[in-house]
Symmetry: C2
Subunit: 153 residues, 2 copies
Amino acid sequence: MTVSATEVARRVLLFEQALRSEGFRVSHQRLEVACEIARSDSHPDVETIYRGVRERIPTISLDTVYRTLGELERLGLIGRVIATPGPARYDSNQAPHHHFVCQRCGLIRDLYGECLDSISAPDQTAPVGRVEGVEVRFHGVCHECTRKEPRHE
Amino acid sequence: MTVSATEVARRVLLFEQALRSEGFRVSHQRLEVACEIARSDSHPDVETIYRGVRERIPTISLDTVYRTLGELERLGLIGRVIATPGPARYDSNQAPHHHFVCQRCGLIRDLYGECLDSISAPDQTAPVGRVEGVEVRFHGVCHECTRKEPRHE
DNA sequence: GTTACTGCAAACTTTTTGCACGACA
DNA sequence: TGTCGTGCAAAAAGTTTGCAGTAAC
């Protein structure tokens, strides 16, 4: 929850413009879902986004949240982070970045580094397919989890 | 399905030894599941492993496959590959490696490269947690999918 | 006033769990 | 022979879909 207010506003405006230009209607449900995901940098899952939006729209349904997230993903406005088992998690940070994943609690933290963005694929990759992007994932244990349970094998 | 026979034998023996040393019983169901995952390098999902094992043990149940894969994972003998949405996929390749993931069909190919193994985390990571490993994931479209549907936007 | 969107409910997929029978040690 | 593992079935978790009323344009 440390995304700046101006960045949130910028992202929500982008969502709204994209919806309009694609012929989608701009409902307040969609705007609130967009706002909820835009303001978070903790890669929330669908249930968490649902709870957040429900504070402002108590009648919104979980399936609307699912549908909206699916639309935003198809429009390329948010990304699905596939890094932990269980529920799908989303990321509204569309700048190239990498991740640290805590193997105990599932915390995901964005990392930046040009040297990581520019890693090129080994030669073995060429016969398999065309590379379009790279993501480096560091896994380990976050300090919070280490503090709670230092010896865990 | 290009894992050499000796490598499969080596992995299955390792499974068996680990089961015994941990006090687990060596049932033929467990051995067949272990064999099925050991012989594959295509990161099969549970359903695929289930179908494979059923050719040799037609009465095996899906939940036994789930349980066995969970045990093997907890013993550190196989890894769960979290790279595609949907069913969990497993990997019996425990050597350090990286992945190419096709965004259309979900194909996953192992990649090797010492320079990838030794990537160090950016300084921003230190305050977050202790890094234990790194995996580089290249995503794109495999040649097979490009051939089938060249223009896909 | 249309037409797309929402909420509800039900279905579907993937995974987990409880229990009694059967198999490993 | 005792205990663990298996298969069956049911439940739980996560996600998708059909439909009728509602809201955006």
